[in-house]
Assembly symmetry: C3
Homo-oligomer: 436 residues x 3
């Protein structure tokens, strides 16, 4: 079902539930089905397949992984791990295995978290052949001695890696790249919040009458998918992309976070800090050394796209990270998703709306004859500061509305509203702020 | 009487008394007479008249205001307000009115200050027709019921706005603009300190053998007068003015203040901060958002003259501001005026005297053979720092004497004296520092 | 004996003892013999003589000073001061004098330190004819009344000033100038640590297979020697020298110190701060106004070589400075000299080894297939930061290894090692960092 309306927090949460149980990985049917469902939601996504064995940068596309129902059975016939119950029970990219094993030997194939005994950990082994099961530590501790039956029903065969993209044209050919990843199985903050907010941003941008920038949305597996996307579009990205956002960890209610560009001094960083400061003065800014998502690829030396990540609780920084506790019940909520969406939306609004206002007149405007200023002057009690005059005093063509907001310690939208009043009164003319 | 000598603090205070009771406004006879008396003091000021109705920038010159004796009489025939006692009793630019009114109806035309019950507030209504009386709150509270007689004997008729200027030529055609305003009736810090110090600076600059810069002094009503001056001299100001000072609030003894240029990084700001730091380490620097005088016009976008205000207690920031308590008895004193004058004088001295010294030699000068250094060396007790060598070590042609003063944490005049010794000994040559 | 091996701290200390008792001054046999012994240690130094009377910059080479055994004898025939016991007993550059004098008259020719009663002070009078003896204050206080015999057996005759230099060629004609002074008699931190560490650095640089820069070592008397060297080599220095170090005060164990370049923002300053921070986080950085050695000449306006001094306890800043207590027994030690040498050596290592690495690939390198990264991913417990990837992420050709060390708060050698691993794996190429 294609909807044109922007989703509420609850609708984003519902959409995340629809994608929840697909067995996503860096290749395979779970990834492919996820992209199809996003495509259906948006009324079309361009989907690409890149064959196993293709060299991309320093990497090679691996064989495609297929997961069928895989189970671990104890000596009494009781099912201990079942991929149909949670796809996290299987080490992602496990090779096929069918056999029996004493508990002692089996232990090396089991993964659990002693400090989070109720959680199923998320484990992967993309580039070395292994198999394994993940389970809560409290269950592992109660496993009985004896012979266990392993039915790891997977395939690792030449196939392809799948990714999708969607371009929303704007007045300028300059592009804002918005990338999110779709390779993690049943986890909510890291990852479903990313593709869900991305989907909603597409709806939001389409709802605008026009756009200043062209927007390029990418849905791909993390790391290998981003590298593949880069190498299939390298010259285009170098030529057109002027700013980039990585969408991840946008769903919980706890905090807001920023991973800035490598240099930390791009206009995107300034915009993001402005948005986050006014959303939550306690937001956390991380250093570049805390990076850990696709900015590692898009901001790679030799490409150097200025990419930021605006997040709620950042990957690595919340206890449920990369476990079954990163869920849609206790951690990621409708309001959490709504807050994450709003932070990105305000960032895009500044990208779309910031202007350089230049005064039309020399000497201050006479606001009183326009009913914009008190006509009774002189008193010590008259208003000392006037927002319109404060804003106008910076309208020399070199300060953008956002720059003026910083000079005056105001919100961007307050300044933009003042600029609009000045413009409506023919006191300033404006030109767009465009990233280089 | 034209005097050529520079005035003392006491003489400046006397001159302020002479101007005290003239009924100044943004037009009219009080303004005109004020300019004539300054002209007489200086032996000539160019005085200009701009007709009512003339468009200047976003504004229009209003009708000219004439104030004759205006009084408010209570039901017992007692005079409550009398413009002959203080011109502050009349709302500036009051329209004529002659009539009788019950106290209840009259109240809307009265202005007083509950928190300063002995003060007559200063009120204006230049651009909307009104009339009103201002009086001490303690008197207002004791007004008896009954019918009051109002004799507001004013005129609002087409006439002209008056301003004056005076140019002191220097070696360079580059100009320093020094503007002050002459539209406030009987108030001392804000405003008579401004025109009085301005008058004295003209005397001071004339007393110099020569001047590096040309100085342009402007005496005009605030806001509308400055805007008028700008539009009558726009191309000239754009072409020649390289620095500007607004003279206001230069008369009390309490503190020193700086309103910097909009960007805050002009050489004028550096000079002013240096002067003020050495006059009073507790001086206050205000942000651009605290501006409130003619820098709003001269630093307007599209003209952008770098203008600073060096002040004693800044407008808005002292309790007597814009009331009858801003007087020449308790607030503004000879020593206060002298301090204000001195701050501006030192600023101009740095503008006139700062140089870029460049060494004539490679390797340190031998000071001992010039009797500038001890001949007995070696001891741990010999002087470790030598002012001449410290200064000389920065004489690479890129540091001015003021820059060196900052590097060495010295006063400008200490460094200039050292540079002069080095120059007299043929160890450095100097070139003038000129604003761009 | 010419040795090719680098000296240990103990060997440097032994070499300082060999030079200890030579009667060094700004001219004469003690200076000449010192240079010869350094030349012997290094297998050759170019030695130059500049005649008395030669004008150099603002100075003139003075007459040459010869010191023979000079003594002061008390009324009982007891020798109070004897230049054979310590050359510090004679005011350096004393003129000849042979005569008798009452104690009262003699006092004006005596120098001692009341606050350091056991120390013989170091005094000089190069440019004004004087004679004098220096002695411990506790001995001076016990001098008996009566007639003293003075035998000041010196010469002040036209001769020459001596200095030496040595150039070690490198791949580039760009030169690093390393200057040290050889004019102080028996003192250890200020001065023998300087020429001794300089000698050892020559051995170290020769031990390298090749050098990026050409190194120019200068051994000259302080001030007049440096000025002479500059004027005899002015155009060469201007054309070729891109960085300079002044070697002094490198021998005690107490602290590390830095006197930066005049501007304090040269790459040499950055390197020195990095080296010192990692040697001792409590190192002291002094301001330019604390300068007091040959940076006064080499960084003179008109030449402006960027010169730094990396020191242990800085001249002026330790109580034994310029007295007989600045010795090789209690103050300057083998470990102190080794630490001083090491600080300079690490500075030269960064000059020689720093590179700009640029990535060969777009998108991150795949470290796991090179056994440089764990193959089992996903877990919250996997290593969050990877040194190789952190370093590589800055390899955009604009950051040097030292710059990356600052970004990552690591030591230079840690980053250089990572760059080397990346280079060995063909992931980056590098180019040298050369001072301009």
């Amino acid at each position: 079902m294609a909807t044109s309306g922007v989703m509420s927090g609850l609708e984003m949460h519902d959409f995340a539930w629809k994608l929840w149980s697909l067995p996503r990985s860096i290749t395979g049917s779970g990834l492919r089905r996820t992209l199809e469902m996003i495509s259906e939601e948006l009324g079309g996504l361009s989907i690409y397949e890149v064959p196993s064995g293709t060299a991309v940068g320093d990497w090679v596309i691996p064989d495609e992984w297929t997961l069928r129902r895989s189970i671990l059975i104890d000596p009494h016939g009781k099912i201990i791990c079942d991929s149909d119950v949670s796809n996290l029970h299987v080490v992602n990219y496990s090779e096929p295995f069918d056999g029996k094993m004493e508990l002692g030997e089996l232990q090396q194939y089991l993964h659990s978290l002693p400090d989070l005994p109720t959680a199923v950990p998320y484990m992967t082994s993309y580039y070395e052949r292994r198999w394994g099961f993940c389970l809560p530590h409290q269950i592992r501790e109660r496993l009985v001695n004896g012979v266990y039956t392993i039915r790891m029903d997977t395939d690792l065969q030449p196939g392809s890696l799948t990714y999708g993209d969607l371009v929303i044209p704007g007045k300028s050919k300059k592009e804002i790249l918005i990338s999110t990843y779709v390779c993690h199985p049943s986890m909510a903050n890291n990852e479903l919040s990313g593709p869900v907010v991305s989907t909603n941003l597409i709806k939001y941008l389409r709802s605008l009458n026009s756009r200043r920038y062209t927007y390029r949305f990418v849905f791909a597996p993390e790391t290998i998918g981003a590298i593949t996307y880069i190498h299939n579009n390298l010259e285009h990205l170098r030529k057109h992309v002027v700013g980039a956002l990585n969408l991840t960890c946008l769903g919980d209610d706890r905090t807001y976070s920023l991973l800035p560009t490598r240099g930390g001094k791009h206009r995107l960083d300034t915009i993001a800090r402005h948005v986050l400061k006014h959303l939550s003065k306690d937001y956390v800014e991380y250093p570049w050394t805390s990076r850990g998502s696709d900015e590692r690829q898009y901001s790679s030396p030799g490409l150097d796209l200025p990419m930021i990540s605006i997040m709620r609780s950042k990957y690595w920084e919340y206890p449920e990270y990369h476990t079954s506790l990163d869920d849609l019940v206790d951690l990621v909520t409708p309001s959490g998703l709504q807050g994450g969406f709003q932070a990105i939306q305000r960032t895009l609004d500044i990208l779309e709306c910031d202007v350089f206002p230049g005064s039309n007149i020399v000497g201050e405007p006479m606001l009183s004859r326009r009913n914009l200023y008190s006509t009774l002057g002189g008193s010590r009690f008259s208003v000392k500061r006037n927002l319109l005059l404060d804003v106008w005093s910076f309208c020399d063509g070199t300060n953008s509305a956002l720059d003026i907001a910083h000079h005056l310690n105001l919100r961007f939208d307050e300044v933009l509203e003042a600029v609009t009043v000045l413009q409506d009164n023919h006191l300033v003319v404006t030109g767009p702020v465009l990233l280089d």
